[in-house]
Symmetry: C2
Subunit: 196 residues, 2 copies
């Protein structure tokens, strides 16, 4: 039976972790980006469908291609971040199911069924996006996840002629803790949960 | 700057954690269920919108109400699990935004905009569902998340006349490691990620 994670560990991935907008001038290595994915990929998805795809933008040139798609309030922090991940999902994820879920003909549950494809890609791509955020924090990075951008524009610029579709963005780096605002409140257990 | 989580911690929440279907005969206390939520609620959502709602089924009677909505392959394991969480989202989540995001009139971004409501509830409710899974694992529990059920039926049985909508289910307890199948493969970094 597993023990409870250390208090320091719980603080790092949940209790003290914050969304950052101001970044220290430290880089993020490709090895670390790969390590985030290699943890996040282990999280569960339905039928192991694993629809998340990630495009990491590190170069100034790549960031400039993203700029016109960003909401005004997200431009400066994204341009300054050491790396920005476009968390996407693959609308043809089911083509990998013969390898990912070999015990059944899981491909047939999705091929030609656009509604099942979309729901499964969105739900599981978002689950994996959250594993990605927690994995980055577990590896000592700070995250700045964002939904404020033009999805159609991002897909046109980065995913034309591919089945990848953008879900959300996440800046990655080491944030400046001095620049954080006070944390916003959360809903109490009694406001969000019921016991039967 | 944060350090990297211990190897034991990374194993517990990602690398060694598995989806369980066979449960040990140990209960899960209400205190522990509350502790899962209290960690998961800290994870980031867009504009702190926090749409996830959770209905915990612990009693035999509550489980029996769920039974007819389950896919055949999910019945036995769900009936045997110490607790089953219905991970849902609130289609009126924006009514909490004046408290959760007081710096702006964020309620007006959603009220009367069904498409924005649905996309935001689904994406962020799924992110929070993943935080929930990782939080349960961090607290020493095993999870059995499931998409194989009739969403309409679950909403009729448990959420009639409420704005809550089911997203996925998650059995909770202490799994029997002897009964696990070998782990299915994952996509390599080069199959799922690109660097620009």
């Amino acid at each position: 039976m597993s023990e409870i994670l250390s208090d320091a560990g719980l603080d790092q991935i949940f209790r003290d972790a914050r969304t950052h907008s101001v970044w220290q001038d430290t880089g993020v290595s490709d090895v670390l980006l790969e390590a985030i994915y290699d943890l996040a990929k282990m999280g569960p998805t339905s039928a192991n469908c694993s629809p998340m795809r990630v495009l990491f933008l590190r170069s100034k040139e790549a960031k400039e291609r993203l700029r016109p798609a960003l909401d005004a309030g997200n431009v400066d922090k994204t341009m300054a971040a050491p790396a920005t991940a476009i968390l996407a999902y693959d609308m043809e994820f089911y083509e990998k199911l013969p390898a990912l879920f070999p015990h059944a003909d899981a491909r047939s549950w999705f091929a030609g069924k656009p509604k099942a494809i979309e729901q499964t890609a969105q739900r599981n791509g978002s689950l994996q996006g959250a594993y990605f955020i927690i994995a980055a924090r577990a590896l000592g990075l700070d995250c700045g996840p964002m939904s404020g951008f033009n999805r159609t524009k991002v897909d046109e610029v980065f995913f034309a002629d591919t089945p990848w579709r953008s879900n959300f963005l996440c800046n990655l780096g080491h944030g400046d803790p001095e620049k954080l605002h006070p944390r916003s409140p959360r809903l109490d257990f009694d406001e969000a949960c019921r016991l039967l």
